[in-house]
Subunit: 313 residues, 4 copies
Amino acid sequence: MQGFFEYFVIYGEKYLKISKKRGVYPLHCRTDMAFESHQRLTEGGKECSGITADSYIEEGMTVREVRVSTYDAARKIGKPQGRYLTLELFEHWQTDNDGILKAAALLSRHLRPLLPQKGTVLVAGLGNLRITPDSIGPLTVDRVIVTRHLTGNMPELFGSMRPVCAIKAGVLGTTGVETAELIRGVCSRVRPAAVIAVDALASLSTERLCRTFQLSDTGIVPGSGACNPRRALNAGTLGVPVIALGVPTVVDADTIIGEAIGQTPDYDSHGSFLVTPKDIDALAEKSAKVLGYAINLALQGDMSVADMEQFLC
Amino acid sequence: MQGFFEYFVIYGEKYLKISKKRGVYPLHCRTDMAFESHQRLTEGGKECSGITADSYIEEGMTVREVRVSTYDAARKIGKPQGRYLTLELFEHWQTDNDGILKAAALLSRHLRPLLPQKGTVLVAGLGNLRITPDSIGPLTVDRVIVTRHLTGNMPELFGSMRPVCAIKAGVLGTTGVETAELIRGVCSRVRPAAVIAVDALASLSTERLCRTFQLSDTGIVPGSGACNPRRALNAGTLGVPVIALGVPTVVDADTIIGEAIGQTPDYDSHGSFLVTPKDIDALAEKSAKVLGYAINLALQGDMSVADMEQFLC
Amino acid sequence: MQGFFEYFVIYGEKYLKISKKRGVYPLHCRTDMAFESHQRLTEGGKECSGITADSYIEEGMTVREVRVSTYDAARKIGKPQGRYLTLELFEHWQTDNDGILKAAALLSRHLRPLLPQKGTVLVAGLGNLRITPDSIGPLTVDRVIVTRHLTGNMPELFGSMRPVCAIKAGVLGTTGVETAELIRGVCSRVRPAAVIAVDALASLSTERLCRTFQLSDTGIVPGSGACNPRRALNAGTLGVPVIALGVPTVVDADTIIGEAIGQTPDYDSHGSFLVTPKDIDALAEKSAKVLGYAINLALQGDMSVADMEQFLC
Amino acid sequence: MQGFFEYFVIYGEKYLKISKKRGVYPLHCRTDMAFESHQRLTEGGKECSGITADSYIEEGMTVREVRVSTYDAARKIGKPQGRYLTLELFEHWQTDNDGILKAAALLSRHLRPLLPQKGTVLVAGLGNLRITPDSIGPLTVDRVIVTRHLTGNMPELFGSMRPVCAIKAGVLGTTGVETAELIRGVCSRVRPAAVIAVDALASLSTERLCRTFQLSDTGIVPGSGACNPRRALNAGTLGVPVIALGVPTVVDADTIIGEAIGQTPDYDSHGSFLVTPKDIDALAEKSAKVLGYAINLALQGDMSVADMEQFLC
């Protein structure tokens, strides 16, 4: 949700006017879900060369895969080239017994193959802890078992664990440092084997909020695939594979209205508002648990929740 | 926003089904602003006996007053009998030099006459700190100068200050205690001369969010004037005057869509979603500063921000 | 730790002078552990009628029990009449696999018989979240499964669960309301069958910090058994059984010095300082998990950590 | 307090044993105040070549200056070469009217000459927000007006402000990244003209806690001047001037005992405990306000607290 929110780290109305000059907020900035963009592109049976899409059911859960394989396709879909996986969790995962653990296990199974088999992993939690639907990244970091200082200093005890470090990247408005600058700086010192970038996403549908998790091997290019490469978090800028992990928590207000009236609304009307569930506090916490536990299971192997809770504090 | 959010302190979908049975979410639950309800009631020149409305300009700020004087009018407008003041702040109060202090001074001038001239005042911050747009109440409490323990224990030093105590009333979902029960319990021990109940509000218009503050002498009756008196916070249930103070931070998703399509949308579609500004974190903090400082100025007399910051920590 | 900290919710040095006039800070205010007070009273083989003490090993853990049975004994030991249980956890409970869950299971086994078999239970977290070693109470509340709103509104789904509500009682300095006033007020509305009061404790020994948990059926009388009954949290003031639950996190600076020099130091020197472990953040979180999980296990029966995490958010 | 706390970011007792092998915790690790180290070195009229010390009264406040000018002197005093200023605030600065603002103005006057006259400044808040006495760094960052994103994107509006960015550097235990690594990484991207490193300090005297502020042009070398240059934050490692800013909040438990018994106690006894004021929550907040406001005044010129509060949120 980097593009989504950073657009509005404002100071005074003059900035807003500047933002507006940049023109109408395009579709591919209103969803971070590749399969939604693909659905829109191919509505009415249109073809889109350079993109393949597939879906199947696994343990009662719908898995969708979109592969963007050419530069032109990436421009059209507004997402970088690579592979996008979407896992739609079973309907009541938030309240079922053991639902969080089951969900984390499913995610971890798809996350593990995207990661290198050894070496330090840096988990970067993107987004703003103070805006509930944008807090997925930092909340997830709180659930990640951090081991790099242990594996390094006490190899005799923790040498069998994977070295993991984790940072909350904050937001431009509170730090004055762009998220991408911060993470690039940390990578230049830590030299991880891979980065996992966790972020809240925007979706086109309220039904997917806090339910449909997305994994990709493309990294994150805030805003769109085309613009502002300086802010990209990907293999090109960080020098290592960047796995993006997220779950949608908001829908743009324009999108909701557009659906209702059957056309794109005037940008000026609601472009700076977001739509989010009323119980977003509980949903965000539970989604972040799924993401954090999934990362732990993918990196450290099978652990019970009790084992993980022992490490976290 | 009590009715607005507590509706959705859910545990699983079965509860939602129960909620839905209660029927379509009515207009007067979708706005907490009395003057908006009144405008809707009198659209097209309709009359509404038992309600008077007035407005004027004061120091460049629009002040609106609505008085609901009969039981029938209260039922129609969906708000309890009493007096509602709305202060629409100057457009760029959030970024102007000294804007917060100016705004607080304006509010305090209208707040002071609603309060008894002496005796302990209990400030109750309603709402959920973990949902950014619902955090106005607890954030305000953090800005209120609490003195009751000082005036009681050290009258020689602090005897000239007004005794003030303040609680964050939390939410049902995290405490299992209804806000009204908690505040009634505290009042039975503290026996204040008045209660100020601070809450985030819902509006029908995104333009009023974090800009149009409402004061009333009616207390708060979550849900509506008619239903569930057990949960009311007012002179009837607490035994002392209850001043309600708030600022809208959300619009119901249905309202936005209804505006766009020109009719009330089907409840099922978006009834559990809210619309809020993307920079709600900064807006909520600044709005809470205005409310907290206004309460301090109304109760303790003129102080500079530096003096207030000295007391707060 | 109520007496310990509230003593120092100060505003300016004059208050301190007033506090000091109250005289030397007595032993029984420097420890909240009944068995420590009893050890001191009976040093050198002194007898103390009205108090019995016992200890045994259970699953590798030392369990100590002190019973104070007369008014005179209570005055002497500076603790109210009743039964005090101390459980000294195995040395590395904080880092062992499943250590938190094992510790919680042990505690819950001793907690369950102190509670009534049915009826609502109110968990009151005492202390100040903003002072790490005083945050045990509020941190524990975050781990307690709150069900009262569910069992009441949805008996068909949650009727088999025990109704539980929970409040963070805050501190005098930030609310202006005494903890005891607040809890008495809530009890007058909620009418629970029992109250569990959770608090950080003071000990005489750094070795017991975050390791030796205390349970008692006496409630809490901040300051001492004799003084200020208005502030007591017990069956006398609340009308229902009050179970006190806590773990020491601090030692008074005077105590440490006293041990070193072999006599009680001058109060003026360090009376307003506390001694706490350098890694108190992790220790407090883990201790609060043990307490919260123990309460859940005692009230809701056997659950896995994964089940509990599903309810918490 | 980097050395002080990082020593104890432990995982299990085995690490402690490793730490202990490193030998007795030396004096210069127990105080971060250069003038205290100097006093100890020169007790009984001993001379210490390579170090000059001076003090004077300014507006009722004692200002002390220590200059360490040779490598040998730095080794002896256990602090890097450079200039250390200590400002002892008037006794009741925490409760006086406008006390925070007055204190900030005094500090800023001594801070300004240490900073370059133009260019971006990076404020790095060191320490752990979750341990109250170690939270000075991150709490200060919350009070620093961050402008780098504004001066860069909207020079027409904010061009007259100094570009400032700020990060909370966290702690090893929660991120797995050493503070120095993180800040070096950020500097490599941001390329500031200077860094201000803010940290809580350790003192030898409880009387100086939250009262005696230290500024230096030496940067911070956690642990001591001699050991582990990899972790240093100074011109050598960051390539730009590093101003260290801090206030003591803790005394080592050994120090307190040592004072009482007149000799250095056995390390094993209390080496992992700290002594801190009981009202450290309020003291830390107020101290951080002084530091944050002082930084703002030094970098942005004269502003009122109301102006600053307008920028902060």
